[in-house]
Symmetry: C2
Amino acid sequence: MTTMVNDPVRNGVDTAVLFATLDAVKGAPEAAKFQFRASNEWISGTHNRSTIDGYFGVGEERNHERTFTFDADHPAVLVGRDNGPTPVEYVLHALAACLTAGVANIAAARGIHLTEVRSVVSGDIDLNGILGLDPQVRNGYQNIAVQFTIKGDAPEEKLREIVEQSRARSAVFDVITNQVPVTIDVNTA
Amino acid sequence: MTTMVNDPVRNGVDTAVLFATLDAVKGAPEAAKFQFRASNEWISGTHNRSTIDGYFGVGEERNHERTFTFDADHPAVLVGRDNGPTPVEYVLHALAACLTAGVANIAAARGIHLTEVRSVVSGDIDLNGILGLDPQVRNGYQNIAVQFTIKGDAPEEKLREIVEQSRARSAVFDVITNQVPVTIDVNTA
């Protein structure tokens, strides 16, 4: 993983810093324990807003360089006012973003210059589930399909291997395709 | 589910439309088959951008009232430039948004006026997984915790039941706590 390369910044990835980070975590595995957070506030109906700012990592509390806020809502056809994407659309964005970040890092580490990475992520969902109308239908996506277009200075086989390695190391792919335990606490005071 | 209520708009939810939608889907279950999508474009390094606009539902192709775009990146400590939240933070936002939309709808259907709904969603992740440094560590969140604050004109027990019913009918909760099959196709042409 720490092979020396001639070009330290490739695909916008500073590979020297990437390899140094890997070496640092190898020496201090605790540094890799992160906690991410989102704070959400209900606005009206299905419209609500999340704020993303603080997180814990590399041994201390940190903040993003700026605070990010995102609105979610349902479209009118789902009894909302379309003030933002639906929550399930944000999941598709998260998957695309995670796989794409991985592709850029892995290509850089392998010395491959990318010229284009695009993806379309689509998820099929039968709302008879969440509407409570059919107990045989699950609430979430029944399946998700990702279509990648990737171009760069490597043979097709190598480009495909990069996508596959990104899948194998994707946090969001793991969250979606495996199970994460979720606890919910409620305060009414 | 179609109990008549005196106040047709409660918590910003038009309950008449909500119940009419439920009745419409009962009569035509195919209307509930939706496909959501996100299109992502790599920018540089771990920075990429998703566009959310078109979707299929209620029998036809539709568009949101406006096109939504969202940037994702890694912070500097994870070898990015912090142009947006990390992909895994978007997952926490999606979960909070889905549960909160459900809370508002369910409370409205039950005739309860809400005055406040807030939540903080936190996820613990050990990046030794995605960094490939420890094969025993999973790539995604090890656990996710949701802390809700909910207030309204109902006893604590009723407010807790609303959150529980939202959990039981949440699409994103299902995606995270159960498995969704994901296929990835790659085009290099």
